[in-house]
Symmetry: C2
Subunit: 291 residues, 2 copies
């Protein structure tokens, strides 16, 4: 990383004499943690970017700034190398941008980590004949195994868990459902590019029963007697699947209580769902927030 | 993106006549979903990389490949721009690498999404005097508010939830604990760089009681009567905090059941924790997997 001195000499080289005191710097905004965020919005030549970045770092150091964030839209991929050369590392990326970060002080880096988990959903949907909605997938590790499994999917960014699982069931099987409970969840690691996975097994109540399977991901879909589902050798052999099947059986006998969603609103008007055991909290959910 | 024709002309330009049939291509390995993964491990000039990538894309297209992944270590940041110019977009990034992806067929893109959630933990630790372990933070939105809150933290990549919360309590307060249950969890959106957040409120049993607070993030820590904690105006005003406090109170009266962890092992020897209501499943947990 450049020192204050070398940054000044670069500035002099690029600035007219009478503007040395008004050094051109990257626009930045302060964050809540003593750092700054730079949004690169206009195209820039990497040769012009490097000295600007060096001069800005020098100034942020003098100001005692801590974490410096650069958000680089993918159109400005030409600036990635220059930022890395000035000491920045990657923090995270989305399809349309790359976020780089640099910790300026000598103290321990307290830069928050990147998103670490995918949240998945598995749907336990049972009709009045104790038949459970199951699918066979046409790609991935279950392809061609003949295993009938619960419909599963991934929660989209910004999507509520309880909405997501209804969407996945509808997409994969055409069946419409209502969310009842999270029955259990499993955390596993190194599931996908080193990331962890949190899979929530949810119970849904079917509202329609005709199956119209999606062709892209689903080989077959059917209503299957729950005992046949649980008796499949694959389910029996895998400790986790076996246990989840038992929880589903227990739920089907109505003697299991999972976590139900409750919409809560923050002071700023944001809605978040809280999932909890509402059988043990009925006195509170029905009262008007009196303790 | 280049066509097959233009890619061949580039190859001819760079290859000796007698090697036209042995076109140099990027090394790649097949994935489980009909795609390929390229790991760039050696330094390369971006001028050499572009034609190689174009020729490789041409070949993968002919082979009917679908998603193409390029894993670019940060040392090779010089190649980012070239990959983007050939039609690649960002998929995700970690401190030391950037993953780019390109979907070759005309069909709908089924590229899995990036990790979308951070998993947080909040610790409800109560001693025999019905005092709960609380902290004041010295940065972030609670800084200087005087609010006493439950210790919270973020689950590291690859870390088990039930280990993470014990670590956070120890780091912030010096108190050693044992994991009991997940009492509830909350999903919220746009918490951090547009990502979602899944906060698990966990009950822990204290094993030690002397507080030794961490200075970096924690302003103060203490054991506080649970009723005083719940009565704080901030907790009363925020619907979510208020509700969580009620769940904690309910748990402290021993009439609330959350989700307990059970370690399960996959056929490949990977251990994953399943969290579920074990009060309703006692007959199964204690039996030897008989249904």
């Amino acid at each position: 990383m450049s020192t204050s001195t070398s940054s000044m000499s670069v500035e002099k080289q690029f600035m007219p004499e009478n503007r040395v005191q008004q050094v051109e710097l990257l626009n930045s905004i302060n964050d809540l943690h003593g750092g700054v965020v730079v949004n690169i919005e206009q195209p820039m030549d990497s040769k012009a970017f490097s000295p600007l970045l060096r001069a800005s770092i020098s100034q942020w150091r003098q100001q005692g700034k801590r974490g410096v964030w650069i958000k680089l839209p993918i159109e400005h991929a030409n600036l990635v190398e220059a930022a890395v050369k000035e000491g920045f590392r990657y923090h995270h990326a989305e399809p349309d941008y790359l976020m780089l970060v640099c910790w300026l002080p000598e103290t321990t880096d307290t830069i928050p980590q990147n998103a670490s988990h995918r949240v998945g959903v598995g749907a336990f949907v049972m009709n009045n004949q104790r038949e459970v909605l199951v699918v066979q997938e046409n790609s991935g590790k279950f392809k061609g195994t003949g295993v009938w499994k619960l419909p599963t999917g991934v929660v989209n960014e910004g999507e509520d868990l309880c909405t997501s699982v209804i969407r996945e069931v509808k997409e994969e099987t055409g069946v419409e459902t209502e969310f009842i409970e999270v029955l259990a969840f499993r955390q596993s690691h190194k599931s996908f590019f080193g990331k962890s996975d949190l899979l929530c097994i949810c119970m849904l109540q079917p509202r329609t029963f005709d199956i119209e399977k999606q062709d892209l991901e689903i080989e077959a879909a059917q209503w299957m007697p729950i005992d046949d589902y649980a008796a499949q050798p694959f389910i029996q052999k895998q400790e986790l699947f076996n246990f989840v099947a038992k929880i589903c059986l227990s739920k089907s006998d109505r003697n299991y209580v999972g976590f139900s969603p409750l919409a809560t609103t923050t002071a700023s008007g944001k809605t978040s769902y809280l999932y909890f055991n509402n059988q043990n909290m009925k006195h509170l959910v029905t009262s008007d927030n009196q303790q």
